[in-house]
């Protein structure tokens, strides 16, 4: 079974995010970028499936700017076998919307015929949480989202999902799309020899045109702004005062 893992290049989770002066989005110029952490978990799971003998090949895909190559090399260094880069934008600020990404992925799935697509449940930049579900709809495949445990058994996959208030376990038919949550696994560090080997692994470069997909945005960003600064607190002199204040605020 071949496993396809889409990975997104996003602003590094350690970076202090700054909104561009014109409010059109987040400033990504000269900012450290990394693989979306949920996608890293998906890559790790795919590699573990291969190590367990349940997958034969792991193919990583990234859609975005040319520099997404680095993100794919990270996946290759972790243990993916080969990579496909779809260069769909010149400017790092151009976000390729989930529907366009899902359409490109659907075309790649038809070409590559994987038995499983493992994706992050969402990207930490714009938190759309849509691509996996859209891909499932486009392909007519089953889906298991927010996975915290995955057990592939022949024609079925048992997926434990993190839902509001607990865990839900479902069985989905293969081939399927599984989007992964934070607690599924802890991604490995790429070893030094594997980092060096990654540059020798195949990386195909494509364009959206190769898959007949138009990536023109359908959404308009009206405004991007920083979260409101937290207002300063007050000091209370006694428990009575505290209770009075809480009552005043309707908190008790």
């Amino acid at each position: 079974m071949k496993v396809l893992v889409p990975v997104k290049r996003v602003i590094d989770y350690n970076v202090k995010v700054r909104v561009k002066a014109d409010g059109s989005g987040v400033d990504l110029a000269n900012v450290k970028m990394s693989m979306n952490p949920f996608d890293e978990i998906a890559v790790e799971e795919a590699i573990r499936l291969k190590e367990a003998g349940k997958a034969t090949e792991v193919v990583a895909v990234s859609i975005g700017v040319k520099q997404n190559q680095e993100t794919l090399r990270t996946a290759l260094a972790m243990g993916a076998d080969r990579a496909i880069l779809v260069v769909a934008a010149d400017d790092v600020h151009t976000d390729i919307e989930p529907l366009a990404v899902a359409k490109i992925l659907a075309a790649i799935v038809k070409e590559e015929e994987p038995g499983l697509v493992l994706a992050g449940k969402q990207a930490i930049d714009n938190d759309m949480n849509a691509t996996g579900q859209m891909l499932s709809a486009l392909l007519g495949w089953s889906q298991g989202t927010f996975a915290s445990e995955v057990d592939i058994d022949g024609d079925n996959a048992k997926v434990t999902r993190e839902v509001d208030g607990g865990l839900q376990t479902i069985t989905v038919k293969m081939p399927t799309i599984i989007t992964v949550d934070l607690r599924l696994n802890e991604p490995r560090y790429a070893s030094l020899p594997n980092i060096m080997k990654a540059k020798r692994k195949p990386l195909d470069e494509k364009t959206p045109g190769d898959y007949g997909v138009d990536v023109t945005p359908r959404l308009t960003v009206v405004k991007t702004e920083e979260p409101a600064a937290r207002a300063a607190g007050i000091k209370v002199g006694s428990v009575d005062e505290l209770v009075a204040k809480l009552k005043e605020a309707g908190a008790v």
């Binding site: 680095e70 260094a77 020899p193 980092i195 990654a198």
Partner: protein
């Protein structure tokens, strides 16, 4: 000319940094208090290829360039310079064996050194000889049973902790040409250790005198040829100097990062202290000094990698400059932390203590000037 790191180099730095932050930084103060680094750490590092950073691929190493290796040490030192420097010593020994050892010795020692089940220590300095290393007195007599060693080695990182010792000893005449290198495994007859040294910094590394009292090691444990030991010992030093410089650089960068954070939170006279121009200038100076140090270090590493004739002089210059810069920067970091910097909890005073020795070992900074001056005058 291209000053940018390659994709792989960035990946190497990021990986080493992430490993250090996850697995070393949270324990650095505890390990210092305990005076030892848990031996379990080494196989974890080795699994990522850190056991033989610049050991050849045939011998199971990662075959990195020296420049790549400086990235590893810079990144790991951001977690703890004492742990990173200890790894440098093991790597220096492994590289010596890989470069100069016989195939038989390599096959016997290196596989376990690569997984770091065997941790290696470097034994050159003696109680009576430091900078004048070629005056070393530890003797090895060749007998029917093997080499019999007599003498002692001082300030040995990993003394009584490591699994094998790479020992420079005298097998012939006085001076550098009478020196050979032998491997002495832990548990060898006649091998003993002094008490653990109480030190200013590098306190997580167990350091002790290593004593040889008619200590027996196999003839096959000779590295390379008799009489070439001093040459081998010196060959490792250029790179060792780069590593130790990288350790100063990474630790000082971590200190600056912590200081920036602290200054944005600490308030005085109604504003955060990073808003005072006098202090901002200090921050700017530290940034400038560290960037200069980083560029100089990487240039020296590039010289060593490309076999430039002035590589030794550049390694010496970089070592002197970067280790002094690192110490100056962490001292400033402590000052900017005020009273809190003097407390152990903030981790800054540890950096001041840890980095101080970088001006002394791998050749003192005085010896670095000797090398540079000789290079200048001979030109």
């Amino acid at each position: 000319m291209d000053f940018a790191l390659t994709e792989e180099q960035s990946a190497i730095f990021d990986m080493a940094y992430a490993f250090g932050q996850d697995n070393i930084a949270p324990h650095a103060q505890k390990w210092e208090a305990e005076g030892t680094i848990p031996k379990d750490l080494w196989p974890e590092l080795a699994a990522l290829g850190f056991g033989g950073l610049y050991v050849s691929e045939e011998s199971g190493g990662s075959a990195l360039s020296r420049l790549d290796a400086t990235l590893v040490f810079e990144a790991l030192s951001m977690a703890c310079p004492s742990v990173a420097a200890f790894l440098s010593i093991h790597n220096m020994c492994a590289k010596m064996i890989d470069t100069f050892g016989s195939d038989e010795l390599k096959a016997r020692i290196l596989p376990k050194a690569m997984t770091m089940e065997t941790v290696l220590s470097y034994c050159l300095t003696e109680p009576g000889s430091g900078s004048d290393a070629a005056a070393l007195k530890t003797r090895a007599e060749k007998t029917n049973e093997g080499y019999r060693l007599n003498g002692s080695k001082a300030f040995i990182s990993g003394g009584g902790y490591s699994d094998a010792y790479v020992v420079m000893c005298r097998t012939g005449e006085d001076g550098p040409k009478g020196i050979s290198t032998v491997v002495v495994e832990d548990g060898a007859e006649g091998l003993s250790f002094g008490a653990l040294e109480e030190k200013m910094g590098w306190r997580s590394q167990p350091t002790a005198q290593v004593n040889f009292d008619n200590c027996l090691t196999a003839t096959d444990n000779l590295v390379g040829e008799e009489g070439s030991g001093f040459k081998y010992a010196m060959a490792g030093l250029d790179g060792g100097r780069l590593n130790i410089s990288a350790c100063s650089l990474g630790a000082a960068q971590a200190g600056l990062n912590a200081t920036l954070q602290y200054m944005s939170e600490r308030k005085a006279f109604g504003k955060s202290i990073d808003q005072f121009q006098a202090l901002q200038f200090r921050l700017a100076d530290m940034e400038i000094e560290l960037q200069a140090a980083r560029t100089f270090l990487r240039q020296a590493a590039w010289k060593l990698d490309t076999g430039a004739p002035d590589a030794t002089a550049f390694c010496a210059m970089a070592k002197k400059f970067v280790t002094e810069t690192g110490s100056n920067v962490v001292d400033q970091c402590l000052q900017l932390h005020g009273g809190y910097g003097y407390l152990s909890d903030y981790g800054i005073e540890k950096l001041v203590r840890d980095l101080r020795v970088h001006q002394i070992l791998e050749g003192t900074n005085e010896i670095m000037r000797v090398i540079v001056a000789r290079h200048l005058i001979a030109r």
